[in-house]
Subunit: 409 residues, 2 copies
Amino acid sequence: MKAFFKVKTIDQALEYRKHFAPLRTEDISLGESMGSVLATDIRSDIDLPDFARSIMDGFAVRGASTFGASEGNPAYLNLKGTVAMGESSNLAVGPGEAVRISTGGMLPTGADSVVMVEHTEAIDDTTIEVYRSVAPGQNMVEVGEDLNKGEIALTGGSRIRPQEAGMLAALGIQTVTVFKKPTIGIISTGDEIVPVNETPGPGQIRDINTYTLLGLVRQMGATALPYGIVHDDYKVLLAKCTQALTECDMILVSGGSSVGARDFTIDVISAMQDSEILFHGISISPGKPTILARVQNKAFWGLPGHVVSAMVVFSRIVKPFIEQVSGLNDDGGKKSRLTARLSRNLASAQGRVDYVRVRLVHKAGAIWAEPILGKSGLINTMVKADGLIEIGMNTEGLDQGTEVAVIPI
Amino acid sequence: MKAFFKVKTIDQALEYRKHFAPLRTEDISLGESMGSVLATDIRSDIDLPDFARSIMDGFAVRGASTFGASEGNPAYLNLKGTVAMGESSNLAVGPGEAVRISTGGMLPTGADSVVMVEHTEAIDDTTIEVYRSVAPGQNMVEVGEDLNKGEIALTGGSRIRPQEAGMLAALGIQTVTVFKKPTIGIISTGDEIVPVNETPGPGQIRDINTYTLLGLVRQMGATALPYGIVHDDYKVLLAKCTQALTECDMILVSGGSSVGARDFTIDVISAMQDSEILFHGISISPGKPTILARVQNKAFWGLPGHVVSAMVVFSRIVKPFIEQVSGLNDDGGKKSRLTARLSRNLASAQGRVDYVRVRLVHKAGAIWAEPILGKSGLINTMVKADGLIEIGMNTEGLDQGTEVAVIPI
């Protein structure tokens, strides 16, 4: 009997990310860049804004002209005209003077603030009353207040969210250098697996892992390339893996990663050129029988066949590797965790990290995590689940009411 | 001067979702269904699994044959053969008998449990020693344990996550009836706005909102259709909005929603056939000058021109409307909130809900929300932000150390 070897903790497993470099960079259009990872820092070549802008509809003034103004004692200002939007004005604002301006308008020479229209009254065509004082700088944005010329606007390794796309637009960057999004090959193995379009015979089940893994890969913004089902045949699996390796940046083989006689993944990896098994087995549950190999500088995974195990391993282990080859800066993966209170006591084995599926329930003003128990082959337990909670390696269990971090899944 | 009218609270604003029905349904392939919303409940027409499956590599037995077995006192079982994967076996397991089985194999007649291979030793070709007892049902999945025939597997109105795709695969559903994903038209207005590919002249800035809104719409899995920039011209804006209305399911016009003389959005809405302004103004900051109208049964939004305001309004108000027309069941939007501790005191005005941009920082074993202060026209404040925190309508402020819910943005 083959045994598990090189069993690693989660942290040890994640250390192997260093073995894999981000993919090459490519230039894409700003409109298509959402979700991509910036390959380089972006430095601003302009002040943002590069003119003093009003942020209110009202009147550009010298603040000093309004000092002491109130409902009972308004300031009277001489209205010199209107700033046209999107143009510089040749009007100048002196003491006791005002120029009409709209939100986004460029402050005329001499003005240092804007009085909101709500705090004024027109007396006639050339005079306004002002009921409130404004301080210099009020209701306007200074030159460079958003970003100064020469400052780093965006850092390489950041994912482009809507606001990063907005910043690129503000800087006039129409073509963005990003890391190529990885293409992840997905292979299901097992003689008992049939395609979705077939009716399973006795002892057969449909291929679930192709679809869960495809979804998980796409959810990350990577490209999924499914290769279908390979039956328990060493030669066919080797051929399919070799093909996938030429077409993809990372390979996920589900099933065939245990220590049974039918588990060919290890043999296939060993047969491929320039391959090295990095670990076989992770001290987590579910998901222990996981293989990571480096084959021709690409990460090659043997994932457990049980659907829950494969999803847990993907979420906790594979995903950080995909982020790594995507060029994403590591944020420790902790920002997106939410907290809830555990609805019941949970026992756990020491010496491994347990992941328990939970449903989130709002009750009595709090969010409760209700464990969903069930074997790791049951897809329905994942459908019912909103997330996973982690029970640490040296923990015998968690008490009801404990605050737990919930990993959305 | 035009005044704000029909100012609503957030809850009142969200009530108007009822005015808008989910879009029509369409049939798409399972492989393309990730992120779509199921239009109907899905009932299982099979037991899942429809045969008793082993979840371990080992030996199918009658549990009773192993009772009392231990290292010192093993049970000796008569090995009758091997179950082939993906087939029913014609072997039967009687008392004192065992059949070799792999993970996922179909239990033979008479077997009620599986002994793990790790707890056995082969004596010869026909005899094994068993060192641990197994209870009936152990190391196997019963017929229907995942899902019983006739049960509701998935509920209409759910978004298809990887696990829902897996469940559809398990049930052999290759074509899925989902709600059509909405197409959202995006229009930027303002004489001072120039396209990203132009160098702004004095008083001009590049179009940011098209890209932030495009990103926010795509992030939700909806389709964004940008119409570019319309200058402050009533006729052109009316024509562009009329066109967008025929091509889109919802319209977002940014800029032109305030009460200034140049703000044509209200006039354009009023000029369109079968239109009704539902509200103008929401008691939130930033984002007050927001318009919602119903035009020919479609939601038509006038969003503030300031980039942060438009993003906050999208995230808190527009998004639930897009979810509504997407057919998504309302979960109260609270499941995805995470918590942090506020790093400093924050003042807030009463009578409105304030949204404060925050950066999340890990410090001293806790996650802290550090407010990012800055005017609502500054895109850089959003680039630095990880989320928003909400300060309620009747709250004067929050103290340092308060636990706050963080809305990722």
